[in-house]
């Protein structure tokens, strides 16, 4: 059941990205280009997502267990550390270079976009590099 729900949430998420225009890197860069001919659309993606999310996450936060009886795995940390900020700055720089973030990267892979494949391969390599560095640290 958990697998089925996860599998069904995937395409709703992905179709949302396509409908929203997030899976089109040129549109994402149009949003990030404040000083140029600015396309504010992605602000509305955030607004729509958070409006829906706020309702559903408020319900989720009140529960100790999910509707399928699994423990709620909500992040508990509150500390604003250097890793969070520096990591996010690196991510934002990459996002600004290509207009692609992780979700849309995988949608582009699914759509058979060659540049999407190249980006996603590099992204996974970056994630693997992180795991490697983490393992060395511990």
């Amino acid at each position: 059941m958990v697998l089925l729900v996860s599998f069904l949430a995937g395409p709703i998420f992905g179709i949302g990205l396509i409908v929203a225009g997030m899976a089109n890197p040129a549109k994402v860069l149009g949003f990030l280009d404040l000083a140029g001919n600015w396309d504010p659309s992605l602000a509305l993606v955030m607004a729509g997502g958070i409006a829906m999310g706020l309702a559903l996450f408020t319900l989720a936060k009140r529960r100790a267990r999910s509707l399928l009886g699994l423990p709620m795995r909500l992040p508990a940390g509150t500390r604003l550390d250097r890793r969070l900020i520096l990591g996010s700055l690196l991510f934002g720089t990459g996002w600004g270079l290509a207009g692609i973030c992780p979700g849309p990267a995988l949608v582009l892979v699914g759509a058979g976009n060659a540049k999407g494949w190249a980006f996603a391969a590099a992204m996974l390599a970056g994630m693997a590099l992180f795991e490697l560095l983490e393992r060395r640290r511990s």
């Binding site: 549109k27 992605l42 993606v45 990459g94």
Partner: protein, 144 residues
């Protein structure tokens, strides 16, 4: 700044956003998991037992999204103008950065802000600022 009215799609983008929020809400309410794509994909590389199946199922569904969309209508135009070399550099930065920052546009942007998490707010402000700055530098200072 000028507004690009030609490409501005407020209603359809808000609808797409709501679908993203719905998917994240379904996942958390039913399974207790956060729909953060970088966390789900990156977590696969940790090979923790019991944490593989749902991640693979979700990512398979996400990869299948364009095919499902095509059943109803043709996919909208996508344009990737970035050259191959910069694209690979960008991918690396996104991979490393989202793992160090513990989230991306979905995990921090949608799920985190919906949970009213201060950490996620700080992350979103950081990656947005870096994104705006990067595009300003590449498009307006370097003229790329």
């Amino acid at each position: 700044m000028t507004i690009d009215w030609l490409h501005f799609t407020p209603a359809i983008s808000a609808l797409g956003g709501a679908l993203i929020g719905l998917a994240a809400g379904i996942l958390v309410l039913l399974t207790g998991r956060i729909a953060g794509i970088s966390g789900i994909a990156g977590g696969l590389l940790q090979r923790k037992t019991g944490e593989i199946g749902w991640r693979v199922a979700f990512l398979a569904g996400l990869l299948a999204a364009p095919a499902m969309y095509r059943i109803v209508m043709p996919l909208p135009e996508t344009r990737v103008d970035t050259g191959w070399l910069v694209l690979v550099l960008a991918g690396l930065l996104v991979g490393v950065g989202t793992r160090y920052g513990a989230g991306c546009t979905s995990g921090h942007g949608i799920c985190g802000l919906s949970r009213l998490s201060p950490r996620s707010l700080a992350a979103v402000l950081s990656f947005m600022a870096a994104g705006f700055l990067t595009v300003f530098v590449t498009r307006h200072l370097l003229g790329g």
